[in-house]
Amino acid sequence: MVSTFQNYTRYLVIILFALFLAACETVPKDTASSSTSSTSTSSSTSAVEIQDGVYVGSDTVEMLAIDVPDRIFFAYDSYSLTKAAQNTLEKQAKWLKANGSVTIAIEGHADERGTREYNLALGDRRANAAKDYLMTQGISSSRVTTISFGKERPVNSGSNKKAWAQNRRSVSVRTN
């Protein structure tokens, strides 16, 4: 009687274990397919404002002087300078040369879709990418400091593609 019961129990355990394993196998697939890219079509964003993930519009942009924009924009998780970014930095360099006493701080920023510590490093990369380009244009490194704010200071508080693109930026700010 007792041994029959134990055999039965052992059977049950094996069957249940098999069921559990079967359940296991399906789960990674569930996880993989459950994620959606819900942000792919943002309502009011027209395609013209973002090209290859980089903001190309003029909202949020301020001027250091006439025709000298203060900021450049980046693609997601990137710190490479687009043609437009290089163009803006060339204008900044020209203005800095014409105003030899001006010093600036370049603030590097990231969007909210990244972990805080990594974004601090990414913001530092972006600020330095801008600084390096100014130096290739003949601006002394002593006139340019950098600071990363990571994702701490968004310019657009929304959680959509346009906001994120506007927040992936480096901004030159006068320090004197």
């Binding site: 355990v13 996880t31 805080r116 990594y118 968004p154 508080s157």
Partner: protein, 440 residues
């Protein structure tokens, strides 16, 4: 996802069929909570105890601690059959079994020489015997810590694992709109009590972490617009900058002996890992790659370090020896990985994963195998372990609308099994939590 977690422990369900001593196997995530009867703590009509409501308070704190663990339920005292003080000496076990209590906690209080004397006993109502008992003596104001210590004892006796209730959480309190967020360091008991702000909010502060052995916190402050790693003595309030570095230092974490701080230093666009010995201030560089190396965390024996790097083209988790040698990628399942933190037991690394637009908190073994995702959300990151390695806390953010409203940030906890997810209540928005070891 929950099913995945259940199936990792299938055989445990069939072991330990014993009626002698109550115990809980905490590797079973979804078990029914164990019903406990937590009685009031009796005393000789002491006026101080009555005035300060110590009887009710102790009982509430213990019962809340145990219930929040997800492993225990506290039976409503209106159901109690035996209500007299005699239960502390000789419970009528049949009465307690009748209301389905598997364990019974009884206690007595007294004031002796202006000090609070707390005696408790934990009874197994089926085995009909006392299985734990202790007398604790402290200042009257300390009743709350005593309660957490009793809850720890009960947890320990019934699960076989060290408790984690007599602990604190340091975190970043957040207020104001997203683009002008004010952030302060704040500290509280693990259950939210004794909440206190540690900084004024004048400077941006981020990522506080407890020293495992001293009453000390390391964190990032933007004091004078120079983001640097700082040390804060919780008892004296004294703050000091850590080292004299030529660039931003960030992502600090203490070594297990509390004597070193490991962190990132950003220089000319490149972030590498450095360690500083706090006694002699000697700095050692640990990584030297053109990529981002950040979010370092020591193994509990101090011999290894796990960290986050994008040297392979995307954010992944790496492990190396504590001198910087043998750097090796361990995350392999696809997606981006961040914020690795080594479990206090040494066998697991908790992490944040970004995959197909969603954020996950998960754990993997230290060689990268056995990845388990515990929770999925729009945004969450930065897990921190409970002192016993059974529970993780992390922060979660909600999505803002196009006008920037609707954003919030809060701290959550989840059991290692993936069950018992709970929001931790804080007075204002909260992020970057760090959980202390048991208070010494």
């Amino acid at each position: 996802m929950k099913r995945l977690l259940v199936c990792l422990f299938p055989l445990i369900l069939f072991t330990n069929i014993s009626f002698a001593i109550i115990e809980i196997d905490i590797t079973e995530g979804n078990r029914e909570p164990l019903p406990l009867a937590i009685s009031e703590f009796f005393h000789d009509n002491n006026q101080q105890i009555i005035d300060k409501k110590i009887t009710e308070n102790i009982r509430t704190v213990i019962s809340d601690d145990l219930e929040r663990s997800g492993l225990f339920s506290s039976i409503d005292d209106k159901a109690f059959i035996q209500t007299n003080r005699a239960m502390h000496l000789k419970p009528r076990f049949a009465d307690w079994r009748l209301i389905k209590a598997q364990g019974l906690l009884t206690g007595e209080l007294a004031i002796e020489d202006d000090r609070l004397r707390v005696e408790f006993r934990l009874w197994d109502t089926f085995a009909e015997k006392e299985i734990e008992g202790l007398v604790l003596i402290t200042t009257i104001e300390n009743w709350r810590r005593i309660s957490h210590m009793i809850a720890d004892k009960i947890y320990e006796r019934l699960t076989g694992e060290e408790g984690y209730f007599d602990t604190r959480i340091v975190y970043v309190a957040e207020e104001g709109p997203k683009n002008k967020r004010i952030k302060k360091l704040a500290i509280m008991d693990q259950d939210g009590a004794n909440h206190k702000f540690l900084t004024s909010g004048k400077e941006l502060v981020l990522t506080p972490r407890f020293n495992p052995v001293r009453q000390e916190i390391t964190y990032l402050s933007y004091f004078k617009n120079l983001p640097r790693v700082y040390l804060l003595n919780i008892q004296t309030g004294i703050q000091e900058v850590v080292g004299d570095f030529p660039g931003m230092t960030f992502a600090p974490r203490f070594s297990p002996d509390g004597g070193k701080i490991i962190m990132s230093l950003a220089r000319e666009g490149n972030s590498d890992l450095y360690v500083m010995d706090l006694t002699n201030r000697v700095v050692e560089r640990l990584t030297d790659s053109p990529a981002i190396d950040t979010s370092p965390s020591y193994s509990p024996d101090g011999k290894k370090i796990t960290f986050n790097s994008d040297r392979g083209g995307s954010q992944q988790i790496y492990v190396m020896d504590s001198n910087g040698r043998n750097q090796k990628r361990i995350s392999k399942q696809g997606g981006n990985y961040a914020t690795p933190v080594w479990s206090p037991r040494g066998d697991l690394i908790a992490f944040t994963k970004f995959y197909q637009g969603q954020y996950f908190i998960g754990v993997m073994r230290t060689d990268g195998s056995g990845e388990r995702l515990l929770t999925e959300n729009w945004y969450q990151e930065a897990p921190s372990w409970s002192s016993n390695g059974r529970v993780l806390i992390f922060y979660r953010e909600t999505k803002a609308n196009d006008a920037g409203d609707g954003h919030s940030s809060s701290i959550w906890s989840i059991d290692l099994t993936g069950f018992n997810e709970r929001k931790i209540i804080t007075p204002v928005d909260a992020s970057d939590p760090s959980w202390s070891k048991l208070i010494q």
